[in-house]
């Protein structure tokens, strides 16, 4: 059962990788990276149970957090061309979005 789930998630990751390679726009690729990260979190969890070492879940949790921050950072970079602070005029704009 966990073997089946591992294979399924792995197949899903390969399909998403294809989209990452082929995706015509930047946003397709960001979406693929985000989906890939979610699949990775699930894969780490399942692999932990498969090998009888659920301690892997700590890594999965960390990966989930980093994946979110990474996605937001990529999007912010391509919107403002800067990861750090942006000047005041855009700070209000940023709060809304």
């Amino acid at each position: 059962m966990f073997v089946l789930a591992t294979i399924a998630v792995f197949a899903a990751m390969l399909l998403v990788l294809y989209r990452l390679y082929a995706g015509p726009t930047l946003y397709d690729r960001v979406l693929a990276v985000n989906a890939f990260g979610t699949h990775t979190v699930l894969l780490i969890g399942i692999m932990g149970f498969l090998s009888g070492r659920p301690e892997f879940l700590d890594i999965a949790l960390l990966y989930a957090l980093i994946n979110f921050v990474g996605t937001i950072a990529i999007l912010k970079f391509f919107r403002y061309r800067a990861i750090g602070d942006v000047l005041h005029a855009s700070a209000e704009d940023e709060g809304e979005t």
């Binding site: 399924a8 726009t25 149970f49 659920p54 879940l57 403002y80």
Partner: protein, 122 residues
């Protein structure tokens, strides 16, 4: 008896979760344009994630592992839709517009200022 029941529940949850994960990935590959792919990604984000984590929770029983699984579930439950929204919003701001279905006119968003023009990074 109870163990068999639990094993059955775990089996159903894990297998259906794996099924929805693969469905979402197939959708990401199969859909023709960016805007529909977003929806395919959200299938594996919501159904696949919830079912797989629920299956692992039932399998682990009451222990610290369950708590960790629930924490992962809560984190993904909040950040998943947020990052989907962020990607969609960034695409909209960049000028990508979804193709409308037959006989439909989309609501045009407020004209957004070009972010590159108005902002100067420090």
């Amino acid at each position: 008896m109870a163990e068999m029941l639990i094993a059955g529940i775990v089996w159903v949850l894990i297998v259906s979760g794996a099924f929805f994960t693969v469905i979402g990935a197939i959708g990401i590959v199969r859909f023709p344009d960016f805007w529909s792919r977003l929806h395919a990604a959200s299938v594996s984000d919501s159904a696949g994630m919830i079912l797989l984590l629920a299956g692992m929770c039932v399998f682990a029983g009451w222990s610290l592992i369950t708590v960790k699984l629930i924490v992962i579930g809560v984190v993904l439950f909040i950040t998943g839709p947020t990052s989907t929204h962020a990607v969609a919003n960034a695409a909209l701001v960049s000028g990508l517009r979804p193709p409308e279905g037959k006989g439909l006119t989309g609501t045009e968003p407020e004209p957004l200022p070009d972010p590159a023009a108005e902002t100067t990074p420090i």
